[in-house]
């Protein structure tokens, strides 16, 4: 069994006439939190969508748990115990918070069949989910929607969580809640791949990091090394922290 739960090798993705990914190589080690960083338009979201089969790779391979998933469709990929939170969160606004959670709990047909202990754990991480349980999700604030999106991804145990910019537009207090939540998830052994623009958020959580630019991974390694090397940050991310 490989040390890496997820591996991308030479992945190219075209969207219509546009060639977005130009041979992405990415490894996500088991049980670790990998940060995918990069400037706007670097190809991070496209990489996540390609992993999930929402856009098909035109070349290269995506392997999960040593299985080739490049040609599988999205429901098949999600069915392999992978949860995905898109940048837009994918909240069903006309459904209640409870109904959003029930949809993600594939093993439950009714709310009463959801795992109580797990729900309590989620309510502890994100009290707003419990508070607004019977409210339409469309009425939640941006931060509450983000909490719901992450809660939905973890309502059942998953091997891999793929989350696109969880801190986007959130208040600092909510970002701290998120960091606590991801730290707990990491401690439970879940493998996480996070796309992030907020480097302060990223360096507090990440074990490993990959930096993308122009549709390729231009740097991969430990987060600690990148966090300590300001010159490297500046050259890769345009940051001067």
């Amino acid at each position: 069994m490989s040390n890496n739960l997820l591996e991308l090798s030479g992945v190219h993705t075209h969207i219509g006439a546009y060639h977005i990914l130009h041979g992405v190589d990415l490894a996500v080690p088991r049980g670790q939190l990998t940060m995918l960083l990069g400037r706007n338009g670097a190809g991070k979201t496209t990489t996540l969508r390609t992993i999930m089969g929402l856009w098909q790779a035109s070349q290269g391979s995506v392997r999960f748990n040593d299985n080739d998933i490049t040609k599988l469709n999205t429901p098949q990929i999600a069915g392999m115990n992978i949860a995905y939170v898109p940048e837009a969160m994918g909240i069903f606004s006309d459904l209640t918070v409870k109904e959003n959670m029930l949809l993600a709990a594939r093993g439950a047909r009714t709310a009463s069949q959801m795992d109580d202990a797990r729900l309590k754990w989620i309510f502890g991480l994100f009290p707003a989910v419990e508070k607004f349980w019977n409210h339409p999700a469309g009425k939640l604030s941006g931060g509450q929607k983000q909490m719901l999106a992450v809660s939905r991804a973890i309502v059942e145990p998953r091997e891999l969580l793929i989350i696109d910019e969880p801190s986007k537009g959130l208040a600092p207090a909510i970002i701290n809640n998120m960091i606590d939540a991801f730290a707990q998830l990491k401690a439970s052994g879940v493998t996480i791949l996070l796309v992030e623009q907020n480097f302060n958020f990223a360096k507090r959580l990440g074990d490993t990091v990959a930096v993308m630019d122009n549709g390729v991974v231009v740097h991969a390694g430990g987060m600690k090394e990148l966090a300590e090397d300001e010159a490297l940050q500046t050259s890769l991310l345009g940051l001067a922290l």
Binding site: L54, A78, F92, K139
Partner: protein, 327 residues
């Protein structure tokens, strides 16, 4: 934040339209007769439109061939009821209702079965291509109409009402046709079943979620195409049921009846908000009432009245009375 924020304004349109018509009609008994007729017509249109609006909502498919299932259901009913002459001519209500229920069931089954083939052969190759969808589904309807002519002949066929459902009930001075009461009851039953399925079952939850964001439903691990085929078949079967009821309402069937009703159906789902079942109910009731009131008050503008109604609603709510969020 309120627990449930329900938008009551569109629901109020139905009584508002009815009450506005009352002084124009003048006679209370005539108004009651027309209102019940309008509600009955609206319920039949709702039965037909409910499947179509979900098909559009789930997969963005513009099925202009929906009318063929209406005609098919009606023609199947002519054959079933013709073979049950003893039952339909009986004065016993229960025998009439059994015959009617059988005609509806067979009509739904045949329309549903044809719906499977229609989705597989005609709709599936054109997912995501609206112009092709319009052309090919209209072509499918033309082929369907021609096949109906081959099987049943091109001429109009009478679809007589079962004996005990003929005639009217008198409510004061108002005369209310018995069949219209049956149509309202069947419509209410269909709405109740749909509403229960959509709000209380996981399948219903998936349909509602899929109408809003099908990509996310797939990302949660559900195969939305299977769900779509199921909805398409149920929608076709409901159109078949609506066709049986429409045929009995008109007491005759023609191969083109589906195409004629199609116009009303599209007005209804646009008024309701594409993909919204509740909106389709409101739209159907408004269209049914408007058609009956204007048919009585100003027959020359009756055809135009529903288009005027649609324009008025869209000026108020450009995405229909109950727009589906995220669309």
């Amino acid at each position: 934040m309120k627990n449930l924020d329900f938008d009551w304004k569109p629901l109020a349109l139905v009584p508002v339209l009815s009450l506005l018509a009352l002084p124009l009609i003048g006679s209370g008994s005539t108004w009651l007769t027309l209102t019940v007729a309008g509600l009955a017509m609206g319920m039949i249109i709702f039965i037909i439109a409910s499947g179509l609006t979900l098909v559009f909502g789930l997969m963005d498919v513009l099925n202009f061939g929906h009318g063929v299932f209406i005609a098919l259901g009606a023609y199947v009913a002519t054959s079933v009821l013709a073979g049950m002459g003893d039952w339909t001519s009986s004065a016993e209500l229960w025998r009439n209702l059994v015959a009617l229920a059988l005609a509806m069931t067979v009509g739904m089954m045949v329309a549903g079965a044809v719906g499977v083939a229609f989705e597989r052969v005609i709709v599936r190759p054109v997912y995501g291509q609206h112009l092709k969808q319009i052309l090919i589904t209209m072509g499918g309807m033309i082929i369907g109409e021609e096949l109906i002519k081959v099987i049943w002949g091109p001429q109009q066929i009478a679809l007589p009402m079962p004996e005990a459902l003929r005639g009217s009930l008198l409510l004061g001075d108002a005369s209310i046709e018995r069949y219209r009461v049956v149509a309202v009851l069947v419509g209410v039953a269909v709405f109740a079943i749909l509403a229960w399925t959509l709000s209380r079952t996981k399948i219903g939850l998936l349909i509602r979620a899929g109408v809003q964001d099908r990509e996310m439903v797939e990302s949660l691990g559900y195969r939305i195409r299977r769900l779509f085929v199921g909805v398409f078949v149920v929608g076709s079967a409901l159109a078949g049921l609506g066709g049986v009821m429409w045929g009995l309402y008109q007491q005759s069937v023609t191969p083109q009846m589906g195409a004629q009703v199609n116009i009303l159906i599209f007005i209804v789902i646009i008024i309701g908000g594409l993909g919204s079942t509740g909106g389709a109910l409101i739209g159907a009731l408004l269209v049914g009432l408007m058609a009956n009131y204007t048919g009585f008050l100003a027959p020359k503008v009756a055809l135009f009245s529903n288009i005027a109604l649609m324009v008025a609603v869209l000026l108020w709510r450009p995405q229909g009375v109950y727009p589906v969020t995220n669309r």
